[in-house]
């Protein structure tokens, strides 16, 4: 049980031009599951490793429960980590793997046995305690890795993409289990992933990073509905939000050859270049002559819904720039390839971003 605070934490790798993590200010609340998400190279794993003590902190401080830990060795920080590839000791069986840290800490044997057994029950590993890692399936190894962390009853859990080596189906099932487990144990958890769906479904709050900088840290709902910049808007949500270049005109925004009416609030910005953000579900198929015209490139059928990938066209059916748009439709109403369709924008659903900086315009 603890809070974790990053204060201006910075990490520079030698011989690189930019910082891997740049002046990170982030607070993880007690008992919270905070997800660090972002594309490869954004600094999320480096941040996690700085907290673990596996990575040097060049500037700033990292506090656990108010105390700076950057000079403490990993084992003195009272944290436990689940590695992406699990990092199980190949020569030890499941019980020994789970008990290793406790043995190192000098915990009495009976207590170790008790804790290992308790964790094995929670994780459904009781039958496998004698097995070696190579005799386990991927999902079982993942649970052993989690068991190793749980058994230590640490103040903070660190998880480095623990689901990425699992089959897609197992991943979906396991993420709900991990979320439920974290809730039950109520241990402060910092969770790293590159998968924004995982971030959205698991995190109490989600911190989006890019190129070493924190972009936004908020609840999943807020990130989705109220992104602070175009990067967050385009990163959160799958399929990605449509980010279309346009110009503000009286009464609306011009995208390609169409002017989409905007209710109010942008009159002062007439003539400004903006990026208009439209989520696939805010677009609906409309009758000809209204809305944004586009020709269908492909239709992705996902069973419960379908996504239309289309190219914007002008009045004369000439392809326009910006060209690509994705819209969500009912699978039964999906248009065919090559068809000319029109998209209507749901009232009030468009977001605007500065075309140069990407910052959100309100």
């Amino acid at each position: 049980m603890a809070t974790v605070t990053f204060e201006g934490a910075t990490r520079f790798y030698p011989k690189t031009e930019r910082a891997a993590v740049n002046g990170l200010d982030l607070e993880v609340r007690d008992g919270e599951l905070l997800v660090l998400v972002g594309p490869s190279g954004c600094g999320k794993t480096t941040t996690l490793r700085m907290l673990a003590g596996l990575e040097h902190v060049d500037e700033g401080a990292i506090l656990i429960d108010g105390k700076d830990v950057i000079n403490l060795a990993p084992r003195d920080r009272d944290i436990a980590m689940v590695f992406q590839n699990y990092a199980l000791y190949p020569h030890m069986n499941v019980a020994q793997n789970m008990g290793f840290a406790l043995r190192m800490a000098g915990v009495p044997k009976l207590e170790i046995e008790r804790r290992v057994r308790a964790a094995a029950v929670i994780l459904d590993l009781e039958e496998y305690l004698e097995r070696k890692p190579r005799q386990l399936s991927g999902g079982q190894r993942q649970r052993v890795a989690m068991g190793r962390a749980i058994v230590r009853e640490p103040r903070v859990f660190l998880m480095d993409e623990p689901l990425s080596n699992l089959d897609a189906q197992l991943r979906v099932a396991t993420r709900a289990e991990i979320a439920a487990l974290q809730r039950n144990l109520a241990v402060t958890t910092l969770y790293v992933t590159h998968d924004q769906v995982e971030a959205m479904t698991m995190g109490d709050r989600v911190a989006v990073m890019k190129d070493g900088f924190l972009q936004q840290c908020d609840t999943p709902r807020t990130l989705y509905e109220n992104p602070t910049n175009a990067f967050v808007a385009g990163f959160i949500g799958s399929p990605a939000m449509n980010l279309l270049e346009g110009t503000i005109e009286p009464g609306g925004v011009r995208i390609g050859a169409t002017v989409v009416p905007v209710a109010n609030g942008l009159h002062k910005a007439v003539g400004k270049s903006v990026i208009a953000g439209l989520r696939p579900e805010s677009l609906a198929l409309a009758a000809a002559g209204t809305g944004i015209p586009a020709t269908v490139r492909i239709v992705e059928e996902l069973g419960a819904e379908a996504f239309v990938h289309a190219s914007l066209v002008g009045a004369d059916a000439v392809p326009q720039k910006p060209s690509n748009i994705i819209a969500r439709v009912e699978p039964r109403a999906a248009p065919g390839k090559g068809e000319l369709v029109h998209f209507q924008v749901k009232e009030g659903s468009m977001l605007f971003f500065d075309a140069a900086s990407g910052e959100r315009l309100r």
């Binding site: 003590g53 084992r75 020569h91």
Partner: protein, 286 residues
């Protein structure tokens, strides 16, 4: 489906060599060991006679003493040094590994000559150490009781470097994540070495012991060269292999010599088999 033909073609030259300089000589030796000088079948008579040869048992004792010291030193020091190097900063350990490897690059005979020089009080830069031990001449340094230690020293000096490189390579196969996990689990450098690294290089240690036993039991260059260089100080039949050579080329008794060679071969094979079975060296499935 699989290009079978080319596979055999690749292996063929090796198989030819294996037969020519490996299997055939062994077969020939077995034949010699089981026959008399006049090529009559003699059963195990040669083996029995060799056993009764007054120089055989002492030679066996000599080599056994040597092996005890050498193998222990190899296992403890090579593994220990490799573990230490592995915990150090990469660049420093690379420099050390290079230095430790240098002696191994020297030819065996050159090493022996070097050591002869080092062991001679009066000529050696370590004279003061030798004198402190009470040795005032080469004969003192090379007293019979000292020989197993001396040969072990020479063999270690010229052989350890290669094994350290191999053992270090074995340590390098341990995934970095596992070692980081150990750090997080609270294991310091010592405990990580003992509880995590050591168990994971068991196979390589077994491999080293098998190779070292085979080479050590057939010790020849060191005692023979010292014997030649010092005349009477070390006799020519100190090690079983020397005895075999002596019997072959001095006494023309090829049969006895073959018997000794086969003895050595069988001993090495037995040790190898025991180690293989106990450590599962060839088991895959990691």
């Amino acid at each position: 489906m699989r290009p079978r033909g080319s596979g055999y073609l690749f292996v063929a030259p090796y198989v030819v060599l294996l037969i020519a300089v490996g299997i055939y000589p062994v077969g020939y030796a077995i034949n010699l060991a089981l026959t008399t000088f006049t090529a009559h079948f003699a059963g195990l008579k040669n083996f029995v006679n060799v056993f009764h040869n007054p120089e055989f048992l002492p030679a066996l004792e000599n080599v056994a003493a040597f092996l005890a010291i050498w193998l222990t030193a190899l296992i403890v020091l090579v593994v220990g040094l490799s573990l230490m190097l592995h915990s150090m900063d990469k660049r420093i350990s690379a420099a050390f590994r290079f230095v430790l490897y240098l002696p191994a690059a020297l030819a065996g005979s050159a090493s022996v000559m070097l050591w002869l020089f080092m062991l001679q009080p009066g000529k050696s830069p370590w004279s003061f150490v030798l004198r402190w031990f009470g040795y005032h001449s080469l004969g003192d340094s090379l007293a019979p009781a000292h020989l197993p230690v001396v040969f072990a020293l020479i063999a270690f000096w010229s052989g350890a470097g290669s094994w350290i490189v191999v053992m270090y390579g074995a340590l390098a196969t341990i995934p970095e994540e596992v070692l980081e996990s150990a750090r997080l689990d609270g294991a310091g450098a010592w405990r990580t070495a003992i509880r995590v690294k050591l168990p994971l290089i068991k196979k390589w240690i077994a491999y080293m012991v098998i190779g070292a036993f085979a080479a050590g039991s057939q010790l020849f260059v060191e005692p023979e060269l010292i014997s030649e260089a010092t005349g009477s100080v070390v006799n020519q039949t100190w090690a079983p292999n020397q005895l075999a050579i002596y019997l072959s080329f001095r006494l023309d008794n090829f049969n006895y010599a073959a018997a000794i060679s086969i003895d050595l071969l069988v001993a090495a094979l037995i040790i190898a088999a025991v180690i293989l079975l106990r450590t599962g060296l060839f088991e895959t499935g990691h």
